[in-house]
Symmetry: C2
Subunit: 292 residues, 2 copies
Amino acid sequence: MAKPSLITLPSKMNNQDRKEWVDDAVDRLIETWQIPQIQGILKLKESVTYSFSRGGKRFRPVLSLLLAESFAVHPQKVLPWALAVEMIHTYSLIHDDLPCMDNDDFRRGEPTNHKVFGETTALLSGDALLTQAFGHLAVSYRDEAALGLKLIALLSEASGIFGMVGGQAIDLEFQKQKPSLEELKLMHEMKTGALIRVSVEGAAIICGLSGAKIQTCRQLGEAIGLAFQIKDDLLDAAEKTEVGSFPAVVGLQQTKEILSDLTLQAKKLLSQLGISEGPLIELVQSNFDREK
Amino acid sequence: MAKPSLITLPSKMNNQDRKEWVDDAVDRLIETWQIPQIQGILKLKESVTYSFSRGGKRFRPVLSLLLAESFAVHPQKVLPWALAVEMIHTYSLIHDDLPCMDNDDFRRGEPTNHKVFGETTALLSGDALLTQAFGHLAVSYRDEAALGLKLIALLSEASGIFGMVGGQAIDLEFQKQKPSLEELKLMHEMKTGALIRVSVEGAAIICGLSGAKIQTCRQLGEAIGLAFQIKDDLLDAAEKTEVGSFPAVVGLQQTKEILSDLTLQAKKLLSQLGISEGPLIELVQSNFDREK
């Protein structure tokens, strides 16, 4: 199918369309990056493109688009935010795969960034994407400076020592000592939850929702983030129970109950936002039902 | 001596006082970071503190302070900018020292971050500082949102693929093939020059200087950045001539002439700004004269 243009009406999109719309926006963004035509930096851009352009499900950007659509806001308005969050997510994958972290050779069936471009370039690629995320927000929202600044503060908090990076640091210790349920929740809320949460929360702020509704969206994002993590843990447990996973800490039965509770809670929060049907409800339910 | 308080008059400070004032501000900033009291993240904060708290000369922050003082603006006004630039500088040192980059065991006579805390934590520390730099700007300049956004765009451009990180990527290739003078200048302008440039340029923006004066400050920052790099190259050449250094590319004599030209140019730019004496003039001259 033809790529939906920027003025495609959101109501006509499904999640595959949304993913492709984001893929397309990523490619167009990278094309705007004017760099000196000299060895080294050309390789760096190729390495950044390798990971950023071939994203997976674009789960976080799609969440931002869905939130906007639910409030009849054109996805174009939340796109810079969605792309910034995806840059942070992409950098975190590149750094996570490095030998000193998870030492992974493959991601999504393809060689990891450092396997193709070498460790040094992969490290720099991650640094470049992380840096660019904030610059992209600053430039994109320059006509709404207060909004732009609020988003940058939100993204920094969710992705740095108070969020994703802090969560990764906590996770490292779980390899050494089995955590409590509270510690495990905290780790996931920070490591993967925070970025998923702000995909929803940031979009809510951009859509101009009331403070109370933004708060509800924040809780919704938290519930979705944790529910996805727990479902992943449950599916993984069919093969192997990881030390720092919910089934290992509270057992299979209680893990399933937590997932049920979170799914119910997400639907309640959606209902409070006046959303009782449509793609956000489907997304929450399909996570509960999914088999992979 | 007692640490200067925030209301110390700038005219009474020398560069050692300024450095200590910055050291003190760094420590107070780190103290405000409220993190969960749990293993892993405590270690991460310790690792961040290890590198950020024991800075070297604080050359970039001191430049920002000096620029502000030259225009009778209280250093407190440029402090958040100075600290953000220093966070970027510190993260770049931590990542540069990693085994996949320069593989350095010591920095400033102390073990490098990864030698003390391990590679994984050092990688995360760098990521955390880089992320925090932008969050710190967003929070600090929230009452002047347009200014804050401009500074974030400037810092991102100077430190990412268009600046420092891009310069590092170019430098990697110079190990393989000897660069031309133009390529060498470009690499240094990006790798180390950009961050020094924006220490001056960002401070000029914060001080509310005219567009023309900001442009002059930008050129001044560029000249100072390159002059410091070339002086380092000259001092290094006494022991060993690096492949990608000015003496290796254009010879000792021409390198000395470039340094003379840049020093003269910096003084002319200062004169255009109405500065004919004081610590900025001294800083430019002392770089020309220094023996280490």
